[in-house]
Amino acid sequence: MDNLEHRLVRCFSSVFPSLNEDQIRNASVDSVPDWHSLASVTLISVVQEEFGVQVGLMDLPNLVSFSAVQNYVQHHVAT
């Protein structure tokens, strides 16, 4: 697991503490019952703070799974 993925798992774990690492990597709005709108806002805030990125309003509806958030961060984080 690379550093970015590890940090992202930690972000997800802070919002969904009942999920293990495997469940987090496969997590999506459909598979995690606790992933409601409030959890979404909290998750995106944690991710923004962790990676120093600003998620645009138009991008928010697309960030509905771990892999989607991972792709977004990979493309937007300063390297």
Binding site: S14, V41, S45, V46, E49, E50, L57, L60
Partner: protein, 579 residues
Amino acid sequence: MKLIDALAVARRPVAENASLLRAFLACGFTPLHLETFLVAALSDRSPMERVEVATGLFGDLAGNIERISAEDHDVLVAIIEWQDLDARLGIRSLGGWRAEELPDIVKSAERMMGRLEKAIVSAADLLPTYISLPTLALPPLFATPSQQTSSYELQLRLCVNRFAAALATHPRIRITSTQRLDEMSPLATRFDIQSELSAGFPYHLAHASAMAELLAALIRDSGPKKGLITDLDDTLWSGILGENGVDGISWHLDQQTHVHGLYQQFLASLASAGVLTAVASKNDPALVERAFEREDLLIRKKSLYPIDAHWGPKSESVRRIVKTWNIAADAVIFIDDSPMELAEVKAAFPEMECLLFPKSAPQAFWQLLRRLRDLFGKSIVSEEDSIRLQSIRAAASLPDSSNGDSTSLDSFLQEARASVVFTFGKQKDDRRAFELINKTNQFNLNGKRLNEASWATYLDDPTSFLMTASYEDKYGPLGKIAVLLGHLQGTAATIDYWVMSCRAFSRRIEQQSLSWLFEKFHLRELHFDYQQTDRNKPIYDFLSGIAGTPLTGDIRVSMSSFFEKCPPLFHQIKAAVNG
């Protein structure tokens, strides 16, 4: 604190039997991360406490406050932002920013502040209330450019300041410091417009975290330090008294020694607010005496007690001073310009905070003053605060009863012309009684503390009683120095809380209190909910004396046995009933 850490702290498990703090967070926006940060900040300050934060309805700050119930919550935290005063002062409403609407916005904000003031005062009558005034910049609705303040903006700010000044006089209302918040969180980085538009939460995370820290510090105040011991040479004044002489020491602008004058002024301010202030100095006592005769000193000699000057180690002075004050070393701050002296005192008193006086670094000196204000800061300066040092001075003239010489104590007390005022009543707003219960350590029946909610609940019980004692003798008043809380059951009473200020020791006030209780309620027996603590030996000694047996949890003392052992009492008694 980062949000990810706050989430972890907020979910940290606490013991099942942990006490519970139920806060109500009233705000007009979505509380979202502020709620998380507040739980985390409070949990960090009280790790043994479980914190629950409840919130109200979006967009209805005043209604949320008006609906609060003391049965469900222990404290109220109200966050006011401009849009709560008039929705047009926010960005989620499109009510119009036309120039002709500005007077109406100001009027409408004034009306809302009137409603909020009423709601907050009513809430504060029920439970402790913490207020945050608007922290965000006003939106660009005024006609003036940003470098110019609009008269409407000034009217709004005036209105908020009047509102806050009125609330700040209420004993159960605390308002967060905007100046402190400005230092912690720059104004330009507070507002998160995207979060406000998408989630109704107007703060950047760092600002929400700073606000929560500030509120938690106010709600879970660790309590002020009690005493300050200062060095003299190159600390209270500039120069070495033994070398420069009385006229050679200085503290004035023209001699570039002004920081010492500021320090004197600051110590005088602390002393006037009830902080015990004393001197520990390696010096010639006679010379020190002469130095304190200088008329231009900004702190008078009478405000410093004791003044301990000699050539021995400073820790010896500190030990004597702490003993005279009869307070714990961890409640004392020691200040000296010499790192070596600080280290010597610190080695003798590891629990004491020892701070360097930075005589050649004005900026560090400024930080020292601010640090001291935080360490000694208190919300209310009481009558007892103003007479504390005077009563300790008087206590120094008392004979030592611990050596068993009761005859000299008898004659001393007989001559003292002492009077005690016992007050019976159940006044929930008796801040002094509440404060004594929560800060007294030595003469304390069991070390139990009460928060505002449990204090109110206790007093609401029809079988409970509250007795306080105030003392005065020819040496001066001690003010309210003892509090006793108990329950009546027929001809017996159970004492659940009993504390007495250490300043009141050796005056037989404890015996007089029980004597008066027996008489007032026609009691045959008193039960004491005694528990040993690390520091309550004085009450152990007293109770084992009147019980005549080794102490266990529930101590029972009959009227006949008490009066058999009670020494002569010489006080004139006045009883008052209120509430």
